[in-house]
Symmetry: C2
Subunit: 339 residues, 2 copies
């Protein structure tokens, strides 16, 4: 990787901060060869690093405040010296290549917008989540940053997702689907029906038409564009349904004697599958459209998920996701001027 700037890792955000965050940083440095800087309370972090004999491997940048997990958008204004704000600041002044945080999503989105600002031409930064389809993940954009949007924003989310799919997964002309309630063009609410018209005529977007809730996990398209309200409801519904199906299955396969034997033969495989789905579901959301890469790890992340999120941040940053999005949006504006 040519980009030698470190990842700024918010050490104070997340259900298991700071210890699992620090452990994740140490793993990322030692096993992945990444460069990381931890942002948070120096005393606490120094001690945590000492437990790993890693005080020399991972530098610390001081931030005495932190956003609590239940603090939302307003807190980011009240706490300009929070760990997430300082992490953004490091990227802003060129001292870090990307931000990783497992803190409150609302807090990260608000702080990111405030400190890094939206890229030129981007109306609303949006959250992209990679769903566990094969061979490539389907990217859901927006998964929760913007509850109220306009049709034009759904077109921009399609651009953000397209840039992500091209750069992170090397997909040529990613297929974009519009999340709604039927395959026909006229199916949906007013927002979606207007967005459908706009997407059909959008240069640079390979619009594949409407998709439905079923299609989150079928891999039918590479990018699903939706407002952050619908996207967030759908994402959490999907997580809940997978959890439910597993619980029902566990009960089914452990009922009865012969069945228990069968279950015993399966147990390690089931555990592994469960872990894979969990890890992929929680592997890291990306806040796209800011002047800097921001990866939002799941609040429940432990060290392996934090380390994976740092890898994702480093990859996206090395592949130039911010510049890629900037070029796309600029090209859209140019093509609009021709009309």
């Amino acid at each position: 990787m040519s980009d030698s700037k470190p990842i700024a890792l918010d050490a104070m955000g997340g259900d298991h901060a700071p210890h699992e965050i620090v452990a994740g940083a140490v793993h990322a440095v030692r096993e992945r060869g990444l460069s990381i800087v931890l942002v948070g309370s120096p005393r606490v972090l120094y001690e945590a690093l000492a437990d790993h004999d890693a005080t020399k491997q991972v530098p610390i940048v001081r931030a005495e405040e932190a956003l609590a997990m239940d603090e939302g958008a307003l807190a980011s204004l009240r706490r300009p010296r929070s760990s997430i704000a300082i992490a953004c600041h490091l990227v802003r002044r060129g001292d870090a290549s990307a931000v990783v945080s497992a803190g409150s999503t609302a807090g990260i989105v608000a702080t990111g917008r405030l400190r890094l600002k939206a890229q030129h031409g981007v109306q609303r930064p949006a959250i992209a989540v990679a769903l566990p389809t094969l061979p490539n993940p389907t990217l859901l954009v927006d998964a929760g940053a913007n509850a109220d949007v306009k049709p034009e924003m759904l077109v921009q989310f399609a651009h953000l997702g397209t840039a992500y799919a091209e750069l992170a997964y090397g997909i040529a002309q990613p297929k974009v689907g519009l999340l709604t309630i039927g395959a026909e063009a006229e199916k949906g609410n007013k927002l979606v029906k207007r967005a459908h018209e706009l997407l059909q005529g959008s240069p640079g977007i390979n619009f594949a038409g409407n998709v439905e809730g079923y299609d989150l996990l079928t891999g039918k398209v590479d990018v699903i564009t939706t407002d952050g309200f619908t996207g967030n409801v759908a994402l959490k519904t999907m997580e809940g349904a997978v959890r439910y199906a597993f619980a029902e299955l566990r009960q089914t396969i452990e009922d009865g004697r012969l069945a228990r034997l069968g279950a015993a033969l399966q147990r390690s495989r089931l555990r592994e599958l469960r872990r894979r789905l969990d890890a992929e579901a929680h592997g890291g959301a990306v806040l796209l459209g800011l002047n800097g890469t921001v990866v939002i790890a799941h609040g429940a992340s432990k060290a392996p998920a934090i380390s994976a999120a740092c890898q994702l941040a480093a990859d996206l940053s090395a592949e130039g996701i911010v510049a890629g999005i900037g070029e796309r949006i600029a090209a859209t504006h140019r093509s609009h001027r021709l009309w």
Copy 2:
């Protein structure tokens, strides 16, 4: 059951019409003791009934037209003599107690609104789907009838679902949740935030606050109120995710030799669970708020699902769901006048 009027079953709607519909009618009559009248092409239906030696057990009402599965709302205007229109007409004039159809949802909703009309005081009839939670299903309202709604309608959907939960499942003061993107009152889009305020002060509604996508299958509340766009996306996402989890599990448990042995021991149980979840997921949606009970069976329904949908229609009709909703809505209007 005291209500001796038959169920009007649309024999021409559904992917497997008319044969599976007729087989379902015969099952409902013979095994459940229900009274059914089939609506559709007499020649075709007579032959299908003859295959079951049931020409004397199930009467036929003529309807020479039918709505195709891909026909939407407009077709219901163009085809006043469609099987679904005639079925609604039978209820309207008091010759049937309820309608069952596996036809296109959009067509059924439009035809039901046009032929049966909304109950006095009901702004928008809505679709209720019973999710497979235990011990009681959670009712999702609206699951797809109204893509664009106002905050007041989310309150009415809460009333419709409350009446359903009380009458069909005997739940006292059903807990109502508002589907949104976070537990705190201020989480959501403008529609939901305003609906939250309205629900808090609504007499006759046991408002339990916000719920998220995870909660569709946790049984945390008895009724989930949402607009038909979000509800439909969530419902289909849930169905897709359960299907995905099963497919992943099947692959996992059949990989490797010892595992295959384990899988063989499980197979019949897994099949059974799959069938249960499918049946429950597709067991029948109810269109609430019309002057008559309308049950919408899944388009892919075969005979057992059709028979179950007829049972649901007969039960709801016998329990007086239409009158129950009418009383609730009237009471709401009275309490509004006091303010």
